[in-house]
């Protein structure tokens, strides 16, 4: 019984350590990668990628229009009154 418990604790520790390392690696990757957002995570980048892989240039108005459709005013966000007075 004791042996099983020790084994369980051992493997639990290994799992915890492994996950901690992964997070740490991911963190340093994000922190170190100065152009991380250029890889496509910015919302406006999705505008310019065609299915054929070409990258047409888009106007600033296109960015605005896509933003309006996607998120502007739709996500749950703190109200200004919770941060400021007028």
């Amino acid at each position: 019984m004791r042996a099983w418990l020790s084994l369980g604790l051992f493997f639990g520790g290994v799992v915890m350590l492994t996950s901690a390392c992964a997070t740490s690696e991911e963190w340093s990757d994000w922190r170190g990668h100065k152009t991380h957002f250029a890889s496509g995570t910015h919302g406006f980048f999705s505008l310019r990628n065609n299915r054929d892989g070409s990258n047409p240039r888009v106007s600033r108005t296109d960015v605005d229009a896509a933003r309006q459709e996607n998120w502007w005013g739709k996500a749950i966000t703190v109200s200004p009154e919770q941060i400021f007075q007028n």
Partner: protein
């Protein structure tokens, strides 16, 4: 006649829709400025009125040169913190960081996400705001404030309402000046600044943050976005 010409009718409706949507405001630079009538004190109104042109230029700079960011409507102005007893006016900018779901970012603990966002965008925005010398040197400006919102990872699933995380920070002018000039450490800067995190509409409060150098916002160029005509980006 139109009843027998469904394509023509469709075309007319589409044209009408485009005309109507063309009139909708897309958070243009002017919309970013807090309207004068919203200010509740003479001090606030005077500041907004005196520095309107400069704030509009600043808003245009963000709009034209940093399309990955957006200033919230009425997000740029002179406002006191919510809990302020006096009418201390902070030059404030509320920015939305346009970022989609990202596995690496999602794996970070919340306070790390805050640290990353503030280091990457908050510090640079404060630096840009502090460069508005004529505004910041106004004796009625108590300090500077930056508010950052971004999509909370894992909340933009179909059928669910997405949630934004928001970080707000207020700092006095002298501390910011010394921090940007490296006379005050990042640790001392965060000790002196007032800041809070919000998870959607829920106040999380003060979280432990780290601040480091990140040049992304000051060096990145969005080459595939055509800037509006006449826009000059440094």
């Amino acid at each position: 006649m139109l009843r027998h010409r469904p394509r023509l009718l469709g075309g007319l409706l589409l044209t009408a829709a485009l005309v109507v949507s063309g009139g909708v405001s897309h958070a243009a630079p002017e919309d970013a400025l807090m309207p004068l009538e919203k200010y509740t004190t003479l001090k606030g109104k005077s500041l907004a009125s005196a520095h309107r042109t400069r704030l509009l230029q600043f808003s245009e700079e963000i709009y034209n040169c940093m399309p990955w960011l957006a200033v919230y409507p009425a997000g740029l102005g002179f406002r006191p913190p919510r809990d302020s007893q006096d009418d201390d006016r902070y030059l404030s900018t509320w920015i939305y960081v346009d970022q989609r779901e990202d596995a690496v970012f999602a794996a970070l603990p919340q306070e790390r996400r805050v640290s990353a966002m503030f280091s990457r965008y908050g510090v640079d925005m404060l630096r840009r705001m502090s460069a508005l010398a004529d505004v910041v040197d106004d004796s009625d400006v108590a300090g500077l404030s930056v508010v950052l919102s971004w999509l909370k990872p894992g909340t933009s699933r179909p059928g669910r309402q997405a949630v934004n995380e928001t970080f707000s920070l207020f700092v006095d002018k002298a501390t910011l000046r010394d921090f940007l000039a490296k006379r005050v450490s990042a640790e001392e800067f965060t000790n002196r600044a007032k800041f809070a995190l919000f998870d959607g509409q829920n106040a999380v409060g003060r979280v432990p943050i780290e601040v480091w150098e990140d040049s992304f916002n000051s060096t990145y160029k969005a080459t595939n976005v055509i800037p509006p005509k006449g826009a000059v980006c440094p």
